[in-house]
Symmetry: C2
Subunit: 327 residues, 2 copies
């Protein structure tokens, strides 16, 4: 075994726990520690032996961590933590506010260059491997249409919106691809489909005592932006059922690219069926941490995305092994 | 429009015609010419305006072609043409004799370095985008199993084997993924499945007058390596039916990677459904020709595979546009 890549975890929620588990699956890596803004003594780690440090000691660990995986929230944590940590560590993150990616890239790029580091931003599955497949699709089939479907999976934002409704004691919302839209995307008649036409929304709601189900249902299906444009079903269940059947975090989806070459139809489909959404995202982050480490060792500096990184850098195998075994 | 990439086509069969059609779909490219070992005057091109040159004039065109796409046969042509042309041009090829890739890479690499060129070898769909998905699958889900299924599609080698049988006047063989094996690969019970268990073979055969169908059928299903290990069906049809229903070149298949993260199952599926196999392969080659051109302009030299090439290099869009629009 050559020298191992020392991974740090900044932020210890579901994603951080996923990174911890993923590092344990990769023999060329070792966990250098978890960094938390909570009291380190209060943290129960997923694996025995994982060291936990306070956020204030991050900088002290600069030469004990090869790549820091940022596991904070994309909305509230990463806009600040991304640039801050990229000045000190090689980093990987899953920043997923699509509209703000250009400005986030610029800030992280400047910070990473100032610190002589490599920062891989916005990886995971979407953005991430789905983005790569959107790019491959249009590069290979320039005359065609791309559709991205999400689900079946829990939407945290929509679940939160349900919980804020008067009379709702608890709720989970699943996003599902709409079967007629999938069919249209596959057969080439899907141009112009909207996100709302491509997906349906399924809500599981626990009512507070005395709440009027019909009023709650009407509030949900008419909620602007979140539900009004979608085919939405509302199921009322008990608190026990919610706790028993809806605590998992499945997700997935697929990217379809259909196009023509010389008048003949060609279809590319990339699909994910995930029992554990944060666990999969974490595994992608860890593979890109390997790439970040290699890029940094080769003298690369600044922010990078999945579009900039050659596939071979993700694998622990050498180029010779990859050519002989996987090509 | 910035300066266009000038593509050359070396060899003008189905693949070469596909490259010609694909270049016409890419506004940042122009066709510099087709090179053939046949009499150039005898060639009817797919598009008006395509210039055809004799093989002997290849070297004269060295400064009129940015990237030469090699469209000769993988078995008989490329082992010689690959190194020869990589010394003169930046090249892209679809060399697909998996077992010989390491030695082919070494020969092309030496030639390309001697000529100061970039040569992308073994791209298309398998090897090619399927290889990339095998790599991503095992890098992201290190504890798991990869399965590659091919079909439904025509196997040229197996069709040729049928045609060599006494009493066979014409034949086409389709390879199909076996449904039970797909199911096993998806649900995680597919470890150890053999290629023969994963596929079935469907033959459409025209008999010569007086040939004994039962004897031909027995010869087919017992043919070592080609059919004996497979579930094989033989359909006897007329010459008219063969000409009417079996001249298209559909193909496809999919790469499945199933794995566990923290005890939960994650499944990645990459699938192709192609009405025109050589047309799709050609489109992949052309996208990689764009990458070869950019690598060469950046000062890169030597042989490369799809594992070495960052996805962004395949797209005509700038890194900024890709981050804003596709990430």
């Amino acid at each position: 075994m050559s020298e191992q890549i020392r991974i740090g975890i900044a932020g210890y929620g579901n994603l951080g726990r996923g990174v911890e588990a993923s590092v344990a699956q990769n023999p060329d890596m070792t966990l250098g520690g978890v960094f938390t803004r909570r009291d380190p003594g209060s943290i129960e780690t997923g694996l025995p032996g994982t060291e936990v440090f306070g956020w204030g000691s991050l900088a002290e660990h600069a030469d004990r961590i090869d790549v820091m995986v940022l596991c904070g929230g994309s909305k509230d944590d990463l806009p600040q933590q991304g640039p801050e940590l990229a000045a000190i560590f090689n980093t990987v993150d899953s920043f997923d506010t699509h509209a703000r990616i250009p400005e986030y890239f610029a800030e992280v790029d400047a910070a990473a260059k100032s610190g002589g580091k490599v920062a891989v931003i916005s990886t995971g599955w979407d953005p991430g491997v789905f983005s790569i497949n959107r790019l491959f699709g249009e590069a290979i089939l320039p005359e065609g249409t791309t559709h991205t479907f999400w689900g079946r999976g829990v939407s945290q934002g929509h679940s939160d919106a349900l919980r804020r409704i008067d009379g709702v004691a608890g709720a989970v919302q699943y996003t599902l691809p709409a079967a007629p839209a999938i069919e249209a995307a596959r057969n080439g008649s899907g141009a112009g489909l909207t996100t709302a036409e491509m997906h349906t929304r399924e809500c599981f709601v626990v009512l507070e005592e005395g709440a009027d189900p019909e009023q709650v249902r009407a509030t949900i299906v008419n909620m602007p932006h979140y539900f009004d444009e979608y085919e939405t079903t509302v199921n009322f269940i008990s608190a026990e059922e919610l706790a028993r059947d809806h605590t998992e975090m499945p997700h997935g989806g697929f990217v379809l690219r259909g196009g023509d070459t010389g008048g003949q139809r060609q279809l590319i489909e990339y699909g994910l069926t995930l029992e554990d959404n944060p666990g999969f995202t974490a595994s992608v982050l860890v593979a890109y941490a390997r790439a970040a480490h290699r890029l940094a060792k080769a003298g690369d500096r600044g922010a990078r995305t999945v579009f900039d990184i050659a596939p071979g850098l993700l694998s622990p195998r050498s180029p010779e092994e990859l050519r002989a075994g996987l090509l």
